[in-house]
């Protein structure tokens, strides 16, 4: 579950036309947070989408909902599990995306004394 951004871009473009994606308008971030935890997204990506050695950072993602959904629906081999519509509907995926977009910007490391050598 690492180094997937490049294949994601390529893959996202490839499947864009084939994937039906929910309208992000009206997405429910609170429900997205609930699903993020219930469906185990936090297990690899952290409760705040901060990432770790098991999963990439999601917080402050620059991906569009379309690209995000394309990756989640059919990730490349060796990355995350596929979350197909039977597991998480398009609307639920949009809710999860909405939650990720609510995660606040972090402080820069330079403003945190413990992170300055």
């Amino acid at each position: 579950m690492k180094n997937f951004l490049l294949p994601l871009v390529i893959f996202g473009i490839t499947v864009l036309a084939q994937t039906k994606i929910a309208d992000p308008k009206g997405a429910d971030a609170a429900n997205g947070k609930r699903l993020f935890e219930r469906n185990g997204c936090y297990q690899c990506h952290g409760y705040w989408g901060q990432g770790g050695n098991a999963g990439a950072r999601l917080a402050q993602t620059r991906l569009t909902l379309v690209a995000f959904s394309a990756f989640v629906r059919n990730p490349p081999s060796g990355s995350m599990p596929p979350f197909r519509a039977k597991v998480m509907s398009d609307q639920e995926l949009a809710d999860v995306y909405a939650y990720i977009k609510t995660i606040p910007e972090p402080k820069p490391a330079k403003d945190i004394p413990l992170l300055n050598p």
């Binding site: 185990g40 901060q50 599990p81 597991v87 945190i112």
Partner: protein
């Protein structure tokens, strides 16, 4: 913990026991017949118990010549003779007895101790039930190439088995159970045989590749008097470690010196502090990146040539390199190939290294392969395979490389080094930015935990004795590991239950050097045999345990989610069988119950720094302490 006040010596106790047995026999004819059958062929019971020098005293004399400092053991009747001799005849010094609550703890303590001290601790166990408890920890030590000196009690002679417990604790071939994952064993049948095998066992265990060894101390030999004449203890002469063939080393040097972009993959390289110095020297001579698999403290983490200071240390990207030098590397095939991931069906694999890249291996493991357990990994099609201990082989390799590097070549290599150093610096800066994510989150991030801990210990003489993979390798990414005892790697066999006892053993080794031992302790691991916390308190072993309490066997929970998604299942059920909540486990109360200073649960990151300060003050005063920190999963 010497105890010289015991008013009842074993010899006196045995005399009284024999007298009691005679009294009982007088009123129980059947028992009398049995007693008669149990009498040795020569001599009476009275003569037997009048001995002032049992065989176990001689065994203690033998062990004292080996320089073993400690014996870790949960007491057992099959080695009671040896225990009595160690604590009374041997005065409980060199070695000193450590009271353990589980044999798995005994072995894991020895495992952690050896990786700090560089020599084995002795453990003792019943040849049956004790060894069954110990076996997982022995497998870990075997996979981690760590010496452990295992002594098993057993009563081979049926005539000496006094009742059912001694029958069910006896075995025909005690070491058979662990022979697949120990290097050597023996079951001596005389004291002179015992002396020779005891010395041989130590020598074999400490010849690279280091491994556990087993010596069976027969109960009858322990408890019967010494009757052999001219007993002597053979002199211990250690083997020089196996060094790679000179011709092959010269060939490796030629390839490395000519390489455009070589990389050194370091597995279990540094056996001693010299190993770290040698690896640094080779890397600097070549100006080559070092991909440290973090199985030992091989290479300083802040060195400019330290490669890939990111989260996924176990599987570095080697695709840019034309020569790969693998020094006692683990699963080299796995890090040079890509396999179909868990999220897909079927299995395909392909190399991930550059076509034509030359692979050179230096390893002593080929000297000690076993068949059944598969710790050797997949067969590697190396271009040059050198059998030998890396640390012993490096001096000749370094000199050979130096001779091949001309001044012009040296200038080119310096340019390569500058580029690697810049990448390293960028990687470390990126790590700091990533550590800032979710800085104020509760549960506390593993990055915040690591940063708070580093702030408190960086000016101390510290030693991190836990594997940091389960906390996203944040200590490796944020701290400055430089001294040989700053890190000791992981379990070896990935057997959980290792971490807490191994940390206690490592802390014991650090104690005499006055080092501050730090253990980032996973919650799942602690619950296997938490009694070792009492051992730490009882023997006053100072150490700071900081819980990484994510309230789950989290790795397995991730697997369940991954497979559930793969099969389109309900993903809300991956906590079943993996979560450690409902009720939440109160680790601070557990630790207090075992006699430790403890605080927690700590969920607010603002509370962590002050709690660490309080706990470290107690550790520096000589106590073990535990902080229960509720953390993010990874």
């Amino acid at each position: 913990m010497s105890d010289s006040k015991n008013p009842v010596g074993r010899r006196g106790f045995l005399k009284r026991a024999a007298a009691g047995g005679a009294g009982l026999a007088a009123t129980a004819p059947i028992a009398l017949a049995q007693q008669a059958a149990l009498k040795p062929a020569t001599g009476s019971a009275a003569e037997v118990t009048s001995s002032v020098r049992p065989g176990s005293d001689f065994m203690v004399d033998v062990f004292k010549t080996l320089g073993i400092e400690y014996i870790a053991a949960n007491p057992g009747s099959s080695f009671r003779g040896l225990q009595e001799s160690f604590i009374n005849y041997g005065k409980n010094t060199s070695p000193e007895w450590l009271t353990c609550c589980h044999e798995e703890s005994s072995v894991a303590m020895a495992h952690g101790y050896a990786k700090i001290e560089g020599k084995p601790m002795m453990i003792m166990a019943h040849g049956t039930v004790g060894l069954q408890h110990a076996s997982m920890a022995i497998y870990n030590a075997f996979c981690d190439r760590v010496p452990v000196y295992i002594v098993l009690g057993n009563i081979l002679d049926v005539n000496y088995r006094r009742g059912n417990p001694e029958w069910v604790h006896s075995v025909q071939d005690a070491a058979a159970m662990v022979r697949d994952y120990t290097k050597w064993d023996d079951m001596p049948v005389s004291l002179s045989h015992f002396a020779e095998s005891a010395v041989r066992a130590y020598k074999i265990s400490m010849t690279p590749p280091y491994e556990p060894v087993v010596l069976v101390a027969d109960g009858t030999l322990q408890e019967e008097p010494v009757t052999e004449k001219n007993l002597r203890i053979p002199k211990l002469v250690m083997n020089a470690p196996p060094q790679g063939d000179s011709g092959a080393v010269a060939e490796a040097a030629k390839a490395l010196a000519a390489a455009e972009n070589p990389v050194i993959v370091a597995g279990r390289v540094a056996r001693t502090p010299r190993g770290v110095e040698l690896l640094v020297e080779l890397a600097e001579v070549l100006q080559a990146r070092v991909q440290d698999q973090r199985m030992r403290m091989n290479f300083p983490s802040a060195h400019p040539l330290y490669g890939h200071p990111g989260a996924v240390i176990a599987s570095p990207n080697l695709s840019d390199h034309d020569v790969i030098l693998a020094l006692e590397a683990q699963d080299l095939w796995g890090i040079t190939h890509k396999m179909t991931g868990f999220n897909k069906f079927g299995m395909e694999s392909h190399p991930t290294i550059k076509p034509g890249a030359k692979v050179i291996t230096v390893s002593a493991i080929d000297l000690n392969h076993k068949s059944n357990y598969q710790d050797f990994g997949r067969y590697v099609e190396a271009d040059l395979a050198i059998t030998g201990d890396p640390e012993a082989t490096l001096p000749e390799l370094i000199e050979a490389v130096k001779k091949l590097i001309t001044p012009d070549r040296r200038r080119a290599l310096q340019e390569r080094g500058v580029k690697i150093a810049a990448e390293n610096q960028a990687g470390r800066a990126r790590n700091r930015e990533l550590a800032a994510l979710a800085w104020d989150a509760s549960p506390i991030t593993t990055a915040r935990l690591s940063a708070e801990l580093w702030a408190q210990i960086k000016n101390e003489d510290w030693s991190l004795v836990s594997n940091d993979r389960f906390v996203s390798s944040w200590p490796t990414r944020l701290w400055n590991f430089s001294k040989p005892y700053h890190y000791i790697g992981a379990q070896g066999g990935s057997g959980i239950g290792y971490q807490l006892p191994a940390s206690v053993g490592a802390a014991l080794a650090n104690k005499k050097h006055g080092r501050l031992t730090v253990n980032i302790q996973c919650d799942g691991d602690l619950n296997y045999a938490p009694g070792v916390l009492w051992t730490a308190a009882h023997h006053q072993i100072p150490m700071l345990n900081v819980m990484h309490n994510n309230r789950a066997y989290h790795e397995e929970r991730m697997y369940l989610t991954l497979l559930g998604a793969k099969y389109d299942r309900d993903l809300g059920r991956s906590d079943i069988g993996t979560a450690l909540n409902g009720p939440d486990i109160d680790y601070a109360s557990i630790a207090k119950g075992y006699g430790l200073y403890a605080e927690g649960p700590i969920s607010d990151p603002k509370d962590l720094g002050p709690a660490l300060k309080r706990a470290i003050a107690r550790v520096k005063a000589g106590e073990p302490a535990l902080l229960d920190v509720v953390t993010q999963p990874r």
